[in-house]
Amino acid sequence: MVFSSSIFLFLFLPVCLILYFNPFVKSIKYKNIILLIFSILFYCYGSLDYLWVILLSIIINYIFGILIEKFKKFYLIFIGVLFNIILLFIFKLLGVYDTSLLSSGILPYVGPLGISFFTFQEISYIVDVYRKVVPAQKNIIKYSLYVSFFPQLIAGPIIRYDDIYKEIDNRKTSLSGVSDGLYEFIIGLFKKCVIADVIGNCALIMFTNSSGNSLCEAWLCAISFVLQLYYDFSGYSNMAIGLGKIFGFNIKSNFNYPYASCSINEYWKKWNISLGNWFNDYILYPICNSKIYKFILKKLNMFFNKKFAFKMMNYLALFICWILVGLWHGIGINYVYLGIFYFIFLTIEKQFKFPKNRNIISHIYTLFVITIGTILFFSYSDPKLVFLKSMFINDSFIGNRVYLYLSNYWIYYLIGIIFSFPVLKMIQEKFKHYRFYSIVNSIFIFILFFVSIYYMVINSYSPFIYFNF
């Protein structure tokens, strides 16, 4: 079940809201039970066969949390993290294995939904318990709700237990919270149903016939896919954050206008923020603070100057981190290349302090690298290198479809490009003190809602791209 589906919007969500906000349920304990039941139902709808995986993962990590707090032994955290990694690895590997069987007519593999997200949440939980950042959760219902809370269950953002456990225990729902949540949800719905899906359809058609694309068509297709990926994923995050607000949870923002970045380093700080922070705290930090890291650094200091030794170790840590970022997206050599691709650009930027200034050239450079990276590692064009070649070396320059798509869909592209920059935020900041602001804003959001519903109904089912990860 996706948020942008009729069954979710007109059945699942209303029933959940009615039960959650009904005046007979005042205690947070019962509200949590309602949310947990709906979260499990939500999961069952999409991945009933793998319900046991998430339940097993919840139970094991719940037990580990308590044991780690009680005994404070390193081997416990080691086994706990290993369990999560093995679980993730097995199901990711099954996906690779199954893809190779697709040609034999076997049904495509649909693994446990959101496994990359919930295993990462659980690793962060047990590690934080070990680091004494948070207390272990003794109540299994509360812990299960943390892991399975349906707004963020299948495509993030990756929520830290530290950010949410007080709200699980005690949270207040207010009319303004519900209204803010609905606002954010509708923005996300609009991003997904109107911009991502329409522009994504153009990309899909051009990808399907990638060998016949002219140079401009190939670029239009690439730009379409880059926009689709952003609006699809950030739209989902907006909806998740909005739903969280409705139920009284404050989920941190997962995107901060990444396409307005002027370097790859800045881009990765603004794209899938929760994943970047996770890798910082649970991969980079342990690597840089490990005894082996310090030992090698000391040895290197004996042979090289301090600055050089530091840099070597830094790049090694960064390399490991980026290989793992790649593998998080999927098991396969293509995803290892993803990690190496971004590692190279980040290293160049760090080494040469490049780009030095924020200007149009640094912005074009960033967008260029992002576009190439997105096509190489996320697109469904096949073979990818052939498509990439058609973006640079091509006999045909313009092609008929460029006129066709730009004349029919120019408004979607225009909105897509403009709102990938903080334009809406600037408008809101400028006019929020005016008396008519709230009325205009309400009318605006109503229009967005009805337009989104219209597009949702006329378009066929389209899952979120990041569900694949």
Binding site: R131, K132, V133, D281, L284, N289, N314, A317
Partner: protein, 80 residues
């Protein structure tokens, strides 16, 4: 003691982030506020501070430190 250590720490920050000598450091700076202070440089900074003052900065404390001023205060307090 506090003033000297304050200056020492500012110098350490400049060295770790390879900042120019005339760069003006202020206490409100935080990782990400300048291009040189990324997550990796932050780890280096923590490593250098830990080594220089022979203290350990646990993750749980580091998580609550929001800017350079707070980190300096924390180090001074821990070093005493």
């Amino acid at each position: 003691m506090g003033d000297i250590m304050d200056k020492e720490l500012d110098l350490l920050l400049k060295e770790t982030l390879y900042l120019d000598d005339n760069f003006e450091i202020n206490d409100n700076m935080f990782p990400g506020s300048i291009i040189e202070w990324d997550s990796l440089s932050h780890m280096n900074l923590i490593y250098n501070i830990s080594n220089k003052y022979n203290i350990e900065i646990p993750f749980k404390d580091l998580k609550n430190i929001e800017n350079w001023g707070q980190l300096k205060k924390y180090v001074c307090k821990k070093f005493k």
